[in-house]
């Protein structure tokens, strides 16, 4: 199968600058700077059908097009490498193998949007990825591919690496801008949207690592080529799926968007580990409603996954076998969100600990029938929180209620967790 982002990978080490260039690296940048207008680059990204890989799936080129080119003052590009969503580790795998596609993609994005100064916001704990990026930035600058007057085109741009100190909410794009400015990372109200008023009040684009790293290949090979690498005519491009949990081979794979869930698990993941059978999975990271064996054939692409009642999210697939208690799994997930709540708004600050409390009651065998109704109400009510963290937290609860109501009820009726044998 053709690989896009992983095509330069070397086993056990990062690709070098020389190897990346020898294999066609930076030809997209040369092509764009010598023969394409900024609008042309943006149009190619629009035509490619590329949708953001950070979780929300917003079309990348369209997001760029919202940035007004006429406002005075600087514009900004931020690459989001916060990646703290449980079950998600694709951006780390990519950057440890190859930091150059991201650097090249960022220069192309800066060129399209007219940005002089861009940032990579990277989480704590990704020290190897951050070191790779610093090295790649230094090499690209020395080769005239980054910095002042790139390739003699008159276009200049820089990339700064900002290493965070660990907090999931920093990945939310408006919280990220506060974090980068050195403020407490509470989200900001939208509107105004970042494209109009973002970092230091200037127009700002926030894109995920994987989104930006794909740009060179769209420019080098054309939008039609990129789109056609997907598994279905509706999908566009390849996707990094990072798999974890009870499969034989939990790893990060680059696969065509739209490949059915079951083919991913039985194919590259090697199926379920011995003695395990598939019970459920989080299809796209910790904030997505569960899929069950009924969803085995769902094409893993944004719209089909949404139509089947969940979200493609980050592409982090967490697989659970028949011995997993789904109430306990959901409790673990909501505890994460309750702890990571930034505390800014009441529904999330007060509501998530209450949901944790209800799930603890049910899991310990002290739940009652009315708790099911209260949980269901909270799935609705937490949509009114200030940012997307709280609705995300309720994704697994929603899935639990829709697919595993019998399992909840068994806890309540028997007064104990059926998966703990005492």
């Amino acid at each position: 199968m053709e690989q896009i982002l992983f095509r330069h990978n070397r086993p056990g080490r990062s690709v070098t600058f020389a190897e990346y260039q020898a294999e066609g690296g930076f030809t997209a940048l040369k092509k764009a700077l010598s023969g394409m207008s900024p609008d042309g680059v943006q149009q190619a990204v629009i035509d490619s059908g590329m949708r953001g890989r950070g979780g929300a799936g917003f079309p990348t080129g369209k997001k760029w097009s919202f940035v007004p080119r006429t406002l005075p003052g600087p514009r900004w590009l931020i690459c989001n490498c916060d990646e703290m969503e449980p079950g998600t580790y694709k951006d780390r795998v990519l950057l440890e193998a190859n930091p150059y596609s991201l650097v090249e993609g960022m220069v192309l994005a800066c060129y399209a949007i007219g940005v002089r100064h861009s940032f990579i916001f990277i989480r704590r704990g990704y020290e190897q990825a951050a070191a790779n990026l610093r090295r790649a930035i230094a090499e690209a600058t020395a080769a005239g591919l980054l910095g002042d007057n790139i390739l003699g085109s008159g276009f200049s741009c820089d990339i700064d690496v900002h290493v965070s100190a660990g907090r999931y909410i920093c990945g939310e794009e408006t919280a990220l801008m506060n974090a980068l400015e050195g403020k407490r990372a509470n989200p900001r109200a939208k509107p105004p949207f970042p494209a109009i008023k973002g970092l230091w009040g200037g127009p700002t684009v926030v894109n995920n690592v994987e989104s930006l790293a794909n740009i060179p290949y769209i420019i080098a090979n054309g939008p039609a080529w990129f789109k056609a690498t997907a598994a279905t005519p509706e999908a566009a491009g390849m996707k990094l799926f990072c798999v974890s949990g009870h499969v034989v081979n939990p790893a990060c794979f680059e696969l065509p968007l739209g490949m059915p869930l079951g083919e991913i698990i039985d194919g590259p993941c090697g199926g379920m580990r011995p003695g395990s059978s598939f019970k459920a999975c989080l299809p796209g990271g910790a904030s997505t409603p569960y899929f069950t064996a009924d969803h085995w054939g769902v094409p893993m692409d944004f719209d089909p996954v949404a139509k089947a009642g969940s979200r493609l999210g980050t592409g982090g697939i967490v697989v659970f076998d028949q011995q997993t208690c789904m109430v306990a799994a959901t409790l673990n997930l909501v505890r994460f969100y309750a702890r990571e709540s930034c505390g800014w708004c009441t529904p999330c600050r007060e509501g998530l600990p209450f949901v944790v409390h209800l799930l603890e009651l049910i899991e310990s065998g002290s739940g009652s029938e009315e708790h099911i109704g209260i949980l269901r109400e909270h799935v609705q009510q937490l949509n009114y929180a200030f940012c997307a963290l709280a609705p995300g937290a309720m994704g697994p609860v929603d899935g639990l209620l829709r697919h595993f109501e019998d399992e909840i009820r068994e806890h309540i009726v028997t007064g104990k967790c059926p998966f703990i044998s005492i």
Binding site: E83, M84, E85, P86, G87, T88, Y89, D91, R92, H117, R123, R124, G125, Y126, E127, H162, V163, S164, A165, G166, R167, Y168, A179, L180, E181, G182, K183, R184, A185, W200, C242, V243, S244, G245, H246, P250, A251, C252, L282, A286, G316, V318, F320, T324, A329, N332, L333, F336, R339, E340
Partner: protein, 161 residues
């Protein structure tokens, strides 16, 4: 009373040039806190005051940042901080067992530091190593597929470091 000067001039100069290269002073705040934490072992009260002076902020403004982040410590920690991931993929692969095992090995509860000041044990959010669950981080080193045996070996390796 004159405040005792705590950070060496070399570090101070480094931080001043980091701040000078930032777009605004505040942008460098996390870097400054991390550097001071590396110097003192944790972000001491003196460090908060020093960071504030360097950044042109009030100590309270530094404090509200410091208490926000998981990896900035406003209380003393041991020489080696052990973070054990307690998020979903690690949970599914036995992360709770790993945490309680480490707790037994070190004879401390999660959140505590060993009496000899060598190890602090902290549960933490996803470390981005979910495919190799269960995962822990000792200092800056990520360790995946940690078993009961490898956990004990890792601790022994770090005892004399």
């Amino acid at each position: 009373m004159e405040q005792k000067k705590m950070i060496p001039d070399l570090l101070k100069n480094e931080l001043q040039s980091r701040i000078a290269s930032a777009i605004t002073n505040r942008e460098a705040a996390v870097d400054v806190m991390k550097a001071l934490q590396a110097h003192y072992g944790w972000l001491t009260d003196e460090a908060v005051v020093e960071a504030a002076a360097l950044l042109g902020l009030s100590p309270l403004q530094v404090e509200e940042l410091a208490t926000f982040y998981e990896m900035i410590y406003r209380r003393p920690v041991g020489r080696h901080v052990i973070h054990v991931c307690d998020s979903i993929s690690c949970w599914a692969m036995g992360g709770e067992t790993l945490l309680s095992h480490l707790s037994g090995l070190l004879d401390i509860k999660p959140g505590e530091t060993t009496p000899d000041g060598l190890f602090t044990l902290l549960p933490c959010c996803c470390l981005g190593n979910c495919g190799e669950a269960p995962t822990m981080m000792i200092g800056d080193t990520i360790c995946g597929r940690v078993s009961v045996d490898t956990a004990a070996a890792l601790i022994e390796q770090h005892r004399n470091r």
